[in-house]
């Protein structure tokens, strides 16, 4: 089971490496989307600091959702997805490996880019650190949920937009706790509550999303 996980995981990473430009598109979107807010809202540092956490989190959410559509699409198109599901390995393992790969390629870069972005929005150091940790806990949740959405909408017309409509409401708790943690730090309150809830959400999602994803894959491939 462990070898199946690493096989799928490594394969996805290798495929992403072959298409480096495509792999970096979510990150570019992330930066561009965030940059729009000062242009729309005005450049006052005070305002930007207040909206920074929410803006970064929402942009991370959207960047994640935009890139997750292709998680299963490529393998579905050339038949390798069916082979994977028929291989006798539990769908759970494949779903987990796929989500992990998505996080490595898309989520992790967002976490690494966050400090720089935070500086663009004049965040405090404490706020920046809290943001990075919240994204570290939150982006895996987004990858797991996104994987489920990708499996549900596999092969459908307008799968991309549909996926966003389906998954965004489910991501709202993570958004609230993640961005809320930064808000707490800025108000001088403790972040432990937010982080515990975010962590609990991550555990819950990690335990249930891959199962739901494997069901969704089976339904889509029948």
């Amino acid at each position: 089971m462990g070898s199946a996980f690493s096989a799928v995981y490594v394969r996805d990473l290798r495929l992403a490496l072959r298409r480096r430009v495509e792999a970096l598109l979510p990150l570019v979107f992330f930066v561009v989307a965030i940059s729009l807010f000062p242009l729309g809202v005005g450049p006052e540092p005070q305002t930007l600091r207040q909206i920074a956490a929410g803006v970064v989190w929402v942009s991370a959410l959207l960047a994640s959702m935009l890139s997750v559509t292709s998680l299963y699409a490529g393998d579905h198109a050339d038949g390798s997805l069916e082979q994977m599901m028929l291989s006798g390995q539990p769908g759970l393992v494949i779903a987990s490996a796929k989500a992990a790969a998505h996080w490595t390629v898309t989520g992790a870069p967002l976490v690494l880019a966050a400090p720089l972005i935070g500086l663009l929005l004049d965040m405090s150091t404490a706020g920046l650190l809290t943001l990075v940790v919240s994204l570290l806990l939150g982006t895996p949740i987004l990858s797991l949920l996104g994987g489920m959405g990708a499996a549900l909408t596999l092969g459908l017309r307008s799968a991309g937009v549909l996926l966003i409509l389906l998954i965004l409401p489910l991501s709202i708790p993570a958004l609230i706790f993640g961005a809320g943690a930064v808000g707490a730090v800025d108000s001088g309150l403790a972040t432990s509550g937010h982080f515990s809830l975010l962590g609990a959400l991550l555990i819950l999602t990690a335990l249930t999303a891959p199962l739901a994803t494997s069901f969704a894959l089976r339904i889509a491939l029948e």
Binding site: L156, R157, L162, P169, A184, L197, A220
Partner: protein, 251 residues
């Protein structure tokens, strides 16, 4: 034993259709009668509220609509799950039939919430926990409707919808809790829809009557829609053809 066999017979589309034909006139009658009763008590018996004046009378629609929106979502997830687990097509049809009515009540809860909020708190929209959760519930309904609509294969649509509805139902308490948490973080003085007027006995009566009225209405509409869907799915079947040709003579 005999009893349970009799119930399962209505899982067949033709018998379900027939049963609805028998029951629906009662549901419609009940809906109308309960509405009249509820409106009478709500407008002519329940007194004016001391703080909110006459605007509070909106709750006779707002609260029942909100309750129905939640009950219908659970019913939708339940029937979708039954349809998936037992391969029962009519259960899946029922789930699909419930969605538009649920979405309608969610929208109505939001609309009436806004119209109640404006005279009470001065703004058309208040990001309080209840209204925000209702808005997210609307998104969940729209997502379900969009998903099943975009899957051409009926069976795949039924199952995918069931999975989504179940995931949604499980998430509703999580979403509600997180929205309440978010709400307390961002507002000192809690402006909330729970600050309803102290309920006089008559106000509660009117609300209950309207809730029952909406429930009867929901049965009637959802069953009618389910009938239509059954006809569409089975359009080649003998029972449909007989019905349609019989109807052709009379209409």
């Amino acid at each position: 034993m005999n009893r349970s066999v009799r119930w399962f017979t209505f899982a067949a589309p033709s018998r379900f259709y027939w049963l609805v034909g028998v029951l629906n006139p009662w549901f419609w009658t009940a809906a109308v009668a309960l509405t009249i009763a509820g409106m009478y008590v709500g407008f002519f018996v329940a007194p004016t509220d001391a703080t909110q004046g006459e605007s509070y009378r909106i709750i006779f629609i707002h609260v029942p609509a909100a309750w129905m929106s939640m009950i219908i979502y659970l019913a939708m997830a339940f029937w979708a799950a039954v349809g998936w687990m037992f391969n029962a097509r009519m259960a899946s049809v029922l789930a699909r039939a419930l969605a538009p009515t649920g979405a309608m009540f969610t929208f109505l809860a939001l609309w009436t919430g806004a119209f109640w909020g404006k005279p009470t708190w001065g703004t058309w929209w208040v990001w309080d926990a209840r209204l925000t959760s209702e808005l997210i519930l609307l998104f969940l309904y729209l997502g379900y409707i969009a998903l099943v609509a975009s899957i051409d294969d009926m069976v795949r649509g039924d199952k995918a919808g069931a999975l989504l509805a179940i995931v949604g139902a499980v998430n509703v308490p999580i979403i509600y809790f997180s929205v309440r948490w978010w709400n307390t973080l961002h507002q000192g003085a809690t402006i909330s829809m729970t600050a309803a007027p102290k309920m006089a006995h008559t106000m509660l009566t009117a609300m209950m009557l309207m809730t029952l009225a909406f429930w009867a209405y929901s049965f009637a509409v959802v069953f009618t829609r389910a009938q239509a869907m059954a006809l569409e799915r089975d359009h080649d079947a003998e029972w449909v053809r007989q019905l349609a040709l019989g109807r052709k003579d009379s209409s």
